[in-house]
């Protein structure tokens, strides 16, 4: 018997068992996710006819999606909102993750994480709507500020525009940003920080030279896990964005459900995902030196 045959026999056991075990889930994902995504990609190159799709290969949908002033501005705005939300969310989240990891007693960490995650799991729609209440003309912020005499006219720049979209999304994705950073911080061997200080660095410099680089994998994960889904958020721009806060998901919904233009809707969706993927790849590439090393 040759080594090759032995190898095959080994494959027959572990690899085959693993594949068999994962197959129900994998087949489901192939049928319900991979195939539909492939279909969208295909549709984006077809031509829209009245009430039917014409099987003519074309780039027209992409030309339209990328050159039409309306679509382009929505796309750029979505990207801008997504980036701002990501920046705000991750910056606000880091100190919390740091606090829970470094300053909370080990026995209470779970409780803190639980407290942080709870709002995330409670009705998203209602949470978004409540931000409308908080930021609205007669809302909590305005009536509060008027009440204590800071302003005498309600502020109107905080609702139905990009600002309100950013605030609401930053709120919605907060736990998503905190958890990966927390996990990365938890993995840091505390003696490394002592070593940093032992070698003569101040606490702050130790943080910059030791803690931050070691936490970067978590930060990168946070950025991606916030950035990618936010660009496709539908509810928030719809409810609190107003006409000038519309984002790409609203556009996709419009094309699919209102205008029945599947090919153009698909082209917009594919373009949005392509841009997001490109941004993510560039971002990961810029941070790759932090992501190497032992797993």
């Amino acid at each position: 018997m040759s080594a090759g045959q032995r190898k095959t026999r080994w494959r027959d056991t572990e690899a085959a068992n693993g594949l068999l075990m994962v197959s129900p889930t994998a087949i489901y994902a192939l049928l319900m996710l991979a195939a539909p995504l492939g279909t969208i990609l295909l549709y984006s190159f077809l031509t829209d006819g009245y009430l039917e799709i014409i099987r003519d290969f074309t780039f027209a949908n992409y030309v339209e999606a990328w050159t039409n002033e309306l679509y382009r501005s929505v796309m750029i705005r979505s990207l801008g909102v997504s980036m701002t939300v990501t920046l705000v969310t991750v910056l606000l989240a880091f100190p919390i993750a740091y606090f829970v990891s470094f300053h909370v007693e080990p026995s209470k960490k779970s409780l803190w994480l639980f407290l942080i995650t709870i709002p995330f799991w409670t009705s998203y729609l209602i949470r978004v709507f409540l931000w409308k209440v908080i930021l609205g003309y007669n809302g909590v912020v305005n009536s509060g500020l008027i009440g204590i005499g800071v302003i005498d006219q309600p502020l109107d720049f905080i609702l139905y525009n990009v600002n309100s979209v950013v605030i609401t999304l930053a709120h919605a994705y907060a736990p998503f940003a905190i958890l990966p950073i927390f996990v990365a911080l938890e993995k840091i061997d505390r003696s490394l920080l002592e070593a940093g200080q032992d070698l003569g660095e101040s606490k702050f410099v130790t943080f910059l030279r030791v803690t931050l680089p070691l936490a970067m994998p978590g930060v990168v994960a946070s950025v991606l896990i916030v950035f990618i889904p936010t660009i496709g958020d539908y509810v928030t721009p719809q409810l609190v964005g107003g006409p000038e806060g519309r984002m790409v998901a609203n556009l996709i919904q419009l094309q699919y459900l209102k205008l029945d233009n599947y090919p153009l809707g698909s082209a917009i969706a594919v373009s949005a995902m392509a841009i997001v993927t490109l941004c993510s790849v560039i971002f990961v590439g810029l941070n790759r030196r932090y992501l190497k090393g032992p797993k």
């Binding site: 594949l19 300053h103 779970s110």
Partner: protein
């Protein structure tokens, strides 16, 4: 703990920001006025009684419960297979397969929704609660896998071998050893996917056809200002309910880890 002083102030401020909507919600649910604005006018439970008289709401609740129960069972079942496979076996293109299965975790839901919509309509499948379930299973499965993987991971492989060594078959080992030890993880996975499905809007919006689900109903009511206080009452009930479910899920998740002799490393994700 002076060291963490400023951090603690910040953390509490942050929690306030996180909880702001949830704190405000019951204020309006129990407020007498029809308009959702400050100042509050007076205590009333009339929105709760009005809620119970909504005929569409009870249909929506029934639909959502059906979807959530079915999706959570299916997603947890699929999750068990994938979590078991990924924690126990090495197999070809594992990273690719697991990556595809976990993709909905980051993929915007609208992409999942429209892509499924296109395929289902293309195949001539008419939209119903079942088409929503198809989508919900897809987005719940990654969460189930995350929870179940930690349950399977804290399971020492030699426990299975020991049972096998002591004369049990693969099936009875699964029943006597693995299942009892990962059961808390399974319960937690069921509860979490139930919560996600119950709350999910976009996929239901695209795939439910004419059948209302709870979030779709809520979304439609936002257009009518006079209906909003009832939604606030409904929201209060939902928030209380989901906090309850989550607490139970967290309890089981922790018990599972403790039972298998593992160390608690964090939250749900």
């Amino acid at each position: 703990m002076m060291k963490g002083g400023w951090f603690k102030v910040y953390a509490i401020g942050y929690l306030l920001f996180l909880y702001a909507p949830i704190i405000i919600l019951p204020m309006f649910a129990f407020n007498d006025a029809t308009v959702i604005a400050f100042p509050l006018t007076g205590f009333s439970t009339r929105w709760f009684s009005a809620m119970l008289e909504q005929p569409t709401l009870s249909i929506a609740v029934k639909n959502s419960l059906f979807i959530a129960v079915t999706s959570s069972i299916l997603a947890t079942t699929l999750g068990i297979f994938a979590a078991r496979a990924s924690t126990r076996y090495r197999f070809p293109v594992k990273a690719g397969i697991m990556g595809l299965i976990m993709l909905p975790l980051v993929l915007p839901e609208i992409i999942v929704a429209v892509s499924l919509l296109v395929v289902l309509l293309g195949l001539g499948v008419s939209l119903s609660l079942w088409t929503v379930i198809l989508g919900h299973v897809l987005i719940c499965t990654p969460f189930c896998i995350a929870i179940l993987s930690s349950a399977f991971q804290s399971l020492d492989q030699s426990l299975e071998e020991a049972a096998y060594d002591l004369g049990e078959s693969a099936a009875s080992t699964f029943r006597l050893i693995i299942l009892p030890l990962v059961m808390p993880g399974i319960i937690s996975s069921l509860l979490i996917s139930f919560t996600i499905s119950l709350d999910e809007f976009i996929i239901a919006f695209f795939l439910a056809g004419t059948e209302p689900t709870l979030p779709v109903f809520i979304f439609s009511q936002f257009r009518f200002p006079q209906a909003v206080p009832v939604i606030m009452a409904l929201g209060t009930v939902l928030v209380v309910l989901s906090i309850l479910l989550l607490t139970i899920a967290e309890y089981f998740r922790r018990r599972g880890i403790a039972k298998a002799g593992g160390k608690d490393t964090g939250g749900f994700l």
